[in-house]
Symmetry: C2
Subunit: 330 residues, 2 copies
């Protein structure tokens, strides 16, 4: 492997000059610059990133710590972050932590000297605790979870869910079931609150039989829907905690010969690409996931740039009601 020294020797200059050439310093003659460039190309030289970041204290990498990598949500998120990072010449170090406190701690530890900043998403409230052990100057952006002193961005889960349920109520539904997300999941909890809020406002009393717990996978949505079909009096609408579960529910309903939306309205949350193509197309709350990722990256870069005097703040991005055929009038 050719190093900066090899290039320096071959070009008959010092390593400092080679370094300057590669960093675009103006303190180099045009002639020297060309000569060094040519030699570098001839020897196939490319700077050693680890060495460079050791001395410059910049890695040009940002870390993305996610609870999981399964599903369109995370891939869209990564895409958004990457888009922004790439523009600024940064790379992405991706890690999934499965939401275990210990794993998150380990991941955060191992990021030291590897990244210039960190985007951490941890759905379970409190799971981001290890992040607090980081030196206060280390730029971190939390997705979802909020924590005093930290930058964070979250989705307006509660408001979005409330609007969707209000819409169902406006369509005449009174018995509205909800397929909840995982117990420990903060997004799930907030969406449930929105659901409860809308029912409360409308003076509809809650029925615990209509609350079925899922885990955000389509399979769990399928089973939940089957349970909901057995309620009596039977629910007339299902609000699923996310689109994946709504998709599963649609499958169960079709199997059972229940027509959507005539016999049962169905709504989801997220607006994953698939929602447009289900049968019938799914009403949902759109969250611009890639946009969220991009925004997170932008905020993180701001923090990286400022370093000093950076005031942490929280940002909430609203969702948008997308009404499709699955919630048309009964």
């Amino acid at each position: 492997m050719t190093t900066i020294k090899d290039v320096a020797r071959a070009a008959g200059v010092s390593v400092a000059t080679v370094s300057r050439v590669h960093n675009g310093s103006p303190l180099v003659t045009e002639a020297t610059r060309r000569r060094v460039r040519k030699v570098a190309v001839r020897l196939g030289y490319s700077p050693h990133a680890a060495a460079r970041s050791l001395s410059s204290k910049k890695t040009n990498v940002i870390g993305v710590l996610l609870p999981d990598l399964y599903g369109e949500f995370y891939s869209e998120l990564i895409r958004g972050v990457d888009q922004c990072a790439q523009q600024r010449g940064f790379h992405l170090l991706v890690a999934s932590s499965h939401n275990e406190r210990a794993e998150i701690a380990a991941a955060v530890q191992s990021m030291r000297g590897r990244v210039d900043g960190l985007i951490v998403m941890s759905p379970a409230p409190g799971a981001h605790r290890p992040v607090k052990d980081l030196p206060a100057t280390f730029p971190v952006l939390l997705l979802g979870a909020a924590s005093p002193g930290f930058d964070s961005i979250a989705i307006a889960n509660e408001a979005g869910a409330r609007e969707m349920v209000q819409h169902l109520i406006a369509k005449g539904h009174r018995r509205i079931a909800m397929i909840l997300g995982p117990k420990e999941n903060q997004d799930a909890a907030e969406r449930f609150e929105g659901y409860q809020g809308a029912l409360g406002e409308a003076g509809i009393e809650e029925d615990a039989a209509l609350h079925v717990t899922g885990d955000f996978t389509d399979t769990s949505g399928y089973h939940a829907a089957r349970a909901i079909l057995n309620t009596s009096p039977r629910a007339t609408a299902i609000f699923a905690g996310n689109d994946a579960m709504a998709v599963g529910a649609l499958g169960a309903l079709r199997e059972a010969g229940v027509r959507v939306p005539e016999d049962m309205a169905v709504a989801g949350f997220d607006d994953i690409p698939m929602s447009r193509y289900t049968h019938p197309p799914l009403s949902t709350v759109r969250v611009d996931i890639a946009g969220l990722g991009e925004r997170a990256a932008v905020r993180l870069f701001e923090a990286v740039a400022n370093h000093r005097r950076h005031r942490a703040r929280r940002e909430v991005v609203p969702g948008q009601l997308i009404l499709r055929a699955s919630t048309d009038s009964p």
Copy 2:
């Protein structure tokens, strides 16, 4: 930020000892080990990755270079790779290159000193050329593209497509349209060959009017299907180059009031999660994408471990015909 020196000083030992403790060397007294550990925790010390990899020449990171990050295919792939990497204590550096030769070259360059090995996927044949400038000892695994002297894994596109078209022919279809993938895409080209092969075997003559080009997005599938509806005599089946386009095609057919599979059979390729939930469920060729990613990682780690005397070889993973309602008998 506390360094190894700080720990050494605070614990009253040399940096070598601290290093030994952290690397589990047996050459340390139990007493010293405990003392150093305690001090390290108290000072919140964690080793600086860049420094460590500079001297040890190991980064514990593998790079994944993809043409894009959009869609379930790539997210599944990453998930598979990550699963394997995580097991071995490795991180993932992800980069998307948009398939531009120059961008790929830049990305490959910037990986030096950052990763111990590289998984490169470049659908356009020849786009992986920059990889050849890497020192021959650098472990690389190509996904899709083959190149003498390089390890590679690919999907059996041609065989999978052939089987699917054979299936359509067996169902009695003679006029089978195909929605092609992007021109430069190798997977797309191979799938087209499989299609042509099956038709040829069956003695069905080709009709260029039945070949519509898309770009692997659902939107392009939608438009392609509309074009196909105008063929005359009208095709009775559509084989889409991937599931996303098949999904778009289903949307166009439903809009046009064309029943699937009665009036028109539809098949795809990939078996993305969505395919199970379309209306009707989509026949497709299943590719275990996460498994592919995992296998790629395993192969790469083999190469990393061997370094010397590693013989490159090519591996082709077969697809599996998944028959669902979208191609039931007319």
